[in-house]
C-alpha cells in the first residue's frame, strides 16, 4: 500500500476512493499519457479495458482506462474528457500494448480518431457501415433497424 499513499501524495486530493477496491482520477487531456505511465510504474501494470462514455449533454466524450494492480489488488479508473466534435486522442499502445484492439473498437464505435494506431481507422466489427458510429448517443438504433430491415407484418386481429 506504500505506492498508493505515494500516488495520493502526488495527485494531492484528485485521486478519489469510490470504494475500498476502486480508485478514480480525472486528468486533463494532455496529462492522460503521463498519468497512465506514472500509474504503470507504481504497480498498476495490467490494463483491464479502455472505453468511452458519450456525455451528449456536455457534448464531451469521457475516455476511461481501467488499470489493475496485482500487488495491492486495486482497480483505478483514469479518466479524461475530450470534446465531442472531431474527437481525437493519442494512442496509449506505447504504455500498454494490449490497448491496440480496444482503441480500434473505440474508433469504430464512437468515431474517435486515435493518432498513432494504424488499425484504428479500418473496420473491425461492422462491414461497410455507412451511417454514424453506432454507440454515439445521437444514433438511434430502433429507427435504423425499423428503416433498414423489413419486419414481418403481423396484422393485429383483436376479434
Amino acid at each position: 500500500m506504500k505506492r498508493i499513499e505515494y500516488l495520493k501524495r502526488i495527485y494531492e486530493g484528485r485521486l478519489i476512493e469510490i470504494n475500498p477496491k476502486r480508485l478514480l482520477i480525472t486528468v486533463p487531456k494532455d496529462e492522460f499519457i503521463s498519468a497512465l505511465s506514472t500509474f504503470k510504474v507504481n504497480s498498476f501494470n495490467q490494463l483491464t479495458f479502455v472505453t468511452a462514455v458519450d456525455w451528449i449533454k456536455e457534448s464531451e466524450f469521457e475516455i476511461v482506462a481501467n488499470l489493475y494492480s496485482r500487488e495491492n489488488r486495486l482497480n483505478v479508473f483514469v479518466k479524461t474528457r475530450i470534446s465531442r466534435d472531431n474527437a481525437e486522442i493519442q494512442t496509449i499502445t506505447s504504455i500498454y500494448s494490449v490497448a491496440k484492439k480496444y482503441e480500434v473498437e473505440l474508433a469504430e464505435m464512437f468515431g474517435i480518431k486515435v493518432v498513432g494506431n494504424e488499425d484504428a481507422g479500418k473496420p473491425f466489427l461492422l462491414e461497410n457501415w455507412k451511417s454514424k458510429p453506432p454507440l454515439r448517443k445521437e444514433f438511434d438504433s430502433v429507427a435504423y433497424a425499423a428503416e433498414h430491415y423489413e419486419a414481418r407484418h403481423v396484422e393485429e386481429k383483436n376479434d
Binding site: 466489427l125 461492422l126 462491414e127 461497410n128 455507412k130 453506432p134 444514433f139 438504433s141 430502433v142 435504423y144 433497424a145 433498414h148 430491415y149 423489413e150 419486419a151 414481418r152 403481423v154
Partner: protein, 171 residues
C-alpha cells in the same frame, strides 16, 4: 411416359433421401450451443442419419442457428449457393422468424425468408434439443411429401431474393 417415371423416381428417392440428411457444421449464432447436446450421447440425432458435415459441398441442410448478423448473412448466402441441390434451410430460433430479442439492433436482419428460402422454422429462444429433433423429423415428412422445395423456390424467384440481399448487404 417419361414424365411419370421421373415423378415416380423422385418419390422413391425422396423416401430414401430423408433417411440420410447431412447437416452443415456451421454455427452461425447463439443457437449453436444446443447443437452439441443434440448430436451427442443424450439426444443423439445420428440415429436418424443426421450427421454434421464439414463443407458446403457435402451438406444438405443449412441450419441458420439464431440471429442473422449482416456480416454473417453475406457468408450464409455464399455458403447456401455453394451447396448442391436438393438443399434445405432450417431457421433455428425466433430470431430468424422476426428478429427475436434483437428486433431493435442495427446489425441484425429480421426475417430470414427474405434472403433465403426457408423450409422449416423452429420456434424458441434457443429451442431445446427435443424441439430440434422433432423439427428434423418434420423436415423428413416434408421431404417425403415433396413439399420441402426451398431450392426450387430460390431458383424460380432468384431475382427477388437477390434484390432483398442487395438491399441489406449493400454491394
Amino acid at each position: 411416359m417419361g414424365r411419370l417415371d421421373e415423378r415416380e423416381a423422385m418419390e422413391i428417392l425422396d423416401q430414401l433421401r430423408k433417411r440420410s440428411l447431412w447437416m452443415l457444421h456451421y454455427c452461425t449464432a447463439c443457437g449453436a450451443v444446443e447443437l452439441p447436446p443434440t448430436m451427442t450421447s443424450r439426444y443423439d440425432m445420428e440415429r436418424f442419419g443426421i450427421v454434421p458435415f464439414v463443407t458446403s459441398r457435402q451438406a444438405d441442410i443449412l441450419l441458420v442457428t439464431g440471429y442473422i448478423n449482416i456480416k454473417t448473412l453475406r457468408r450464409i448466402v455464399t455458403v447456401y449457393e455453394q451447396m448442391l441441390d436438393p438443399k434445405y434451410v432450417v431457421g433455428f430460433g425466433s430470431c430468424t422468424i422476426n428478429g427475436g430479442i434483437y428486433w431493435d439492433s442495427y446489425a441484425v436482419a429480421k426475417r430470414l425468408d427474405l434472403y433465403l428460402p426457408v423450409d422449416l422454422y423452429i420456434a424458441g429462444c434457443m429451442p431445446r434439443p427435443e424441439a430440434v429433433i422433432s423439427a428434423f423429423r418434420h423436415l423428413m415428412r416434408l421431404i417425403d411429401e415433396g413439399k420441402a422445395d426451398g431450392y426450387r423456390r430460390y431458383k424460380d424467384n432468384y431475382d427477388w431474393f437477390k434484390a432483398n440481399q442487395k438491399k441489406v448487404l449493400g454491394e
